[in-house]
Subunit: 366 residues, 2 copies
């Protein structure tokens, strides 16, 4: 095992920070950051901003100029060895005379994993892999999911009271959480390639599911809106169809899509799982469409279904400081769970105050 | 408004710390701490350990001996001016030649409030009131409640999953929270003069409701166990009747108490509120019995009833990192709440990890 110095950790930490600047713009590409250090001084920094534009390493090399020669490069993801939309970064690092490369994580794509590192080593550059690997993997969880599992990372967002209610029995629910929490959801949308909901939510709330906070710069891109609507009940007058960005409505069987298509939606047929759309198929299609992260904003039926099928990778709960009592709707509908053994155990990753609400971020322990 | 120095705050903070040493033993008396400072040096510390034993001021004066002369006394509660089980502390401070007294809060009992301070001032001692008053009042919330409202502070403890479930629909619930949370509940019991539950919980779980953690030294005193049991369904074989300490069973109407009384319980008749015991009356009786704090460990019916009647002063929720789904029982049964306007808003006072669970302490904002 390689031993890294405190300086190594600080530089890679900085590279991860730089990578995160691409949170709202880099996808479907991974977020990548690069720091070039010579004689203990940072001589160049770069990150990948947008697909089709320069990779992090190239930006850092450009910033460093002649100072790149003899420098150590800290890169959060293995440099590419192939020509995609841009020439290979491994070549560029070699050409610039970098003397050492430290990589946080390998390329997750099996067929290219290790190629960039091998190429660097063949060129005589000392190359290490694995510094702050967990943080790098977590940063690009969605990209890694798409590449290795063929489906996006599924992030389920729920707003509920402290006693677990998302609405009164009557449906009354606006607003359970405060404006700060609702603004925070804008950030979740902005980092996602798609926002998914169920037809029940569309019919009840007519949500727009778009990014509208002016300071969140996604380069004009809106997440794909995905509606699970097995019997195609969504009206052509749904509000989301009037906003910039595309809407995919997923139905089953033979349905008349004329009205929806006329209103600008894409309607696609999927297999059925009982009465509902086969979500596994939908997620596979989203993976094919290079969507790394799906944010699910849905009611208890879809939320419970995804949880039962172990399809939730991350749960983001905005918990308001209220007790709503028993004439309410719960967070998850799980008709098949009858004993404590059916429950799911969470790994709490982060808890923080957002306005007067508490945001709990957790993964499901399987 | 008096301006206090940083040193004043530090000394009063220390006095509050000392006061809290009486958490498990001082009740029904208030917790009180006292620090004596001369020429910037602490020359004596004391706290009130147990009713009938010396007050905080006397303990501090004893520790200081001759050094008390000319010292400043920091006391968390106004020194008493009357002879109770022990002689008045105001006299003792005067006799010891203390030159200044700083008090955190007045005595809450209207008829004596200000008397101790007046007596000190008459004796020529500079006396100030109000330093860290909110902290002092919070420390003795139960005592203040009993003295000013004639009823104890009601602390409601609930163990629930992150989605607000306290049990499966079948009743299966052992254990939702972990051993650390259950141990923490022992501390809540130890600081309470009474632990209250409903007959439903007794019949379902047969709880002991006692303090059994060996390191919690209550001086051998167990909180009074209180069972709300309108129709006197509690069996004489209930486990709690076999443990040291007293049990009060509260019923309505004319019931045959022979078996329960034979098993050692005290049975008392109260007025009825519909089908349930009038909790207001029960709390008034507990106040008469000098109980400062009642811990309620109950199911959703009693919890919801207390919440509806605005009788909950503090809510302590142990939230386990689980999703239990929809075939479950919720934290509160509130049959009369139908709109969002009925919900209660919480003031979150403290959130911390207890083992793998999260403990949320809140008051109800009225």
């Amino acid at each position: 095992m390689t031993l890294y110095s405190t300086a190594d950790c600080a530089h890679m930490g900085r590279a991860l920070q730089l990578a995160a600047r691409g949170t709202y713009t880099a996808h479907p590409n991974p977020m990548v950051g690069c720091v070039l250090v010579r004689d203990g001084n940072v001589v160049g920094e770069g990150w990948h901003e947008k697909a089709g534009e320069a990779h992090a390493e190239i930006n850092a090399l450009q910033a460093a100029g002649d100072m790149a020669s003899g420098a150590t490069a800290y890169v959060t993801l293995e440099p590419c060895a192939h020509t995609g939309k841009t020439p290979p970064c491994a070549d560029a690092l070699v050409d610039a005379g970098v003397s050492k490369v430290i990589v946080a994580m390998q390329d997750p794509f099996d067929r290219v994993a290790g190629r960039g590192v091998a190429q660097l080593r063949e060129a005589g550059i000392a190359t290490e892999v694995g510094l702050m690997q967990a943080a790098a993997e977590s940063l690009n969880e969605g990209f890694v999911s798409r590449i290795t599992r063929g489906r996006p990372c599924v992030r389920l967002k729920i707003a509920a009271s402290l006693d677990g209610a998302i609405a009164m029995s009557s449906g009354e629910s606006q607003w359970i959480t405060g404006p700060e929490a609702r603004h925070d959801v804008q950030k979740l949308r902005a980092r996602s390639g798609a926002v998914m909901t169920g037809i029940g939510t569309v019919l009840a709330d007519d949500p727009s599911l778009n990014v509208r906070a002016p300071e969140l710069d996604t380069g004009g891109v809106q997440p794909l809106r995905v509606v699970l609507d097995s019997r195609l009940r969504m009206p052509g007058t749904a509000g989301m169809l009037t906003h910039p960005g595309a809407t995919l409505v997923c139905c089953t069987g033979n349905q008349d899509a004329t009205a929806l298509e006329g209103a600008g939606a894409e309607v696609r047929e999927f297999g059925a799982h009982g009465a509902v759309v086969n979500v596994f198929e939908v997620l596979a299609v989203l993976g094919e469409r290079e969507i790394n992260d799906v944010l699910v904003e849905a009611g208890p039926h879809l939320a419970g279904y995804l949880l039962e099928k172990d399809l939730v990778d991350e749960l983001v709960i905005y918990q308001s400081p209220h007790i709503m009592g028993s004439n309410t709707r719960g967070m998850f509908s799980t008709p098949n769970w009858s004993t404590l053994a059916d429950r799911r155990t969470l790994e709490i990753k982060d808890v923080r105050r957002v306005g007067t609400d508490t945001r709990i971020t957790a993964s499901i322990r399987n």
